[in-house]
Amino acid sequence: MKLLLRFNSEIIRKPIIAETVLETGVMLEIERAKVESSMGELVVNVPEENCRMVVEHLRKKMVDVTRLDVPITRDEVNCVHCGACVSVCPVGAISYEYDWRVKFDESECVQCGTCVNTCPVGVIKLPEN
């Protein structure tokens, strides 16, 4: 299971990953990391069976955790097909169909969350955990 971990400026200097490994005994494989002075983002790979425990530990330490293997969802019935989400998607997972309906290709989605905020009618959701 891939997890996206976001660290805010208050916790970014703490050795949270090391602590979590020690406390849970689960190896966290870091796939991608972006650390700046005010924020940090890590993508880690966690064995499926330990995922829940690791997520709980990280959340207690104020890390913002998103599960990346669960695709975003869109309530199609309530979508107004405005297209506000189309051009903000960095990987082109959202596009217009021939009849100007907006379609999502979940397999392309990298769960960046940009479209979630962009939707004016709030029909796009990232998985809760």
Partner: protein, 502 residues
Amino acid sequence: MVKRTIEEINEKIRDGSVHVITAEEMTSLVQEVGVEEAARQVDVVTTGTFGAMCSSGAFLNFGHSDPPIKMQKVWLNDVEAYTGIAAIDAYIGATQISETKGIEYGGSHVIEDLISGKEVTLKATAYGTDCYPRKYVETSITINDINQAMMVNPRNGYQNYNSATNGSGKAIYTYMGTLLPHYGNITYSGAGVLSPLSNDPEYRTIGVGTRIFLGGAPGYIISEGTQHNPGSGFGTLAVTGDLKKMSRDYIRAASIYKYGTSMFVGLGIPIPILNDDMAKFTAVSDADIKTTIYDYSVPRRSKPALREVSYEELKSGMVDLNGKEVKTSSLSSFYNARKVAAELKSWIKGGKFFLSSPAENLTRQSLSKPMKESQVMPLVKDIMVRNVATIRRGFSVDEAAKKIIQDRFNHLPVVDDGGKLVGIVTAWDVSKAVALSKRDSLEPIMTKNVITIGPDDPVDLAVRLLERYNISALPVIDGDKKVIGIVTGEGLSKLLARGVQK
């Protein structure tokens, strides 16, 4: 030459022989058979749009309570509605936001809830009079409990609207949606070929009293809209309709991220083909409808215009901007605009909707003036610190440290050999570098995406940028990117404390 009157068309609607097509179909038809033949065949062309139209709302009459109340303030689901009218009338505006939920829920959501038949909490306060003694009322109502619910939208259906992009280094959140940094995307809002006023650009058939489709119900144009500016192709409409008859398919609440609430309004106007000219106007195509792409990162009244673009290009999904292919997307639903035009067409064909002659034509002379400001706003150049110390990019961290101590500046803009701004270092960056023994060059420690401001920008803008990006200083640069001053948060607060008024 075809000549037809509205009465003749209405007669055809009555006897079922009327020929109606949508504006999109008309464009193809004229391309196939020519203007004259199309004018001969077609009686009515229907248009449609479904965009976020902020300037919308509804007048509601709640009926009298017992004892009665002269509402001085009223809230519907914690969204304040305007009550400076008679005792129990109020106007709920689409962009008024909830006092408890913020921009997640606003006037447009109240309207959508009413249309959907949901219960809405009504609270009102008053000062109490002999005839209206009550001072407070709280109740739960649905749209069926209120007397009148009249949608009255002062500015809908822009003939044309700007297209937006963002040339700055950070994402911005505007009423044109999320705009990604470095011209990362372009957004537009308009129905192009289906746009009502673009199909009658000289307002020959559209005027006061024109019967229209509004929110899924019949409605009327009541006058030109606010900010009506036909000279530059920015005509607008003020419209009204019965909220009780509207449908959630055509009225939807919107909450635009970090901006506020707005309302998607489905609006359609039938255009009678009275003669060949009208056939020619309604043959307009996406390629003919042009708009301008503006850089919305400049939060001033005049934004830099980047290029003119047609709806055909915008709808292709990619636009060339200075040699870069930029993704485009719309904020207004073309899918739903088509539904509006098709629905209106079916009403007319089915004999349920008749056309009206305007009581008066819309003016083509109006201009939209900027605000007259009687107080001169202080500009950045009036308050900036001019003798700002800068450092060349090749210098070392130690040299920067010396300069910071010597000149007592916390911020040191970094410039190239030509004196142009390339970065900024702060006292904090420098001490961190010293502590970590990374003293060789400034390059790795400086911030490269510097937020800057111009000397002629208003001080309010400097304050907004400092807050928005959570930074403590802004280098002031001229047109050549040369640093000519600096404004700091600290400096500004001192000035504000002294109550600077130029």
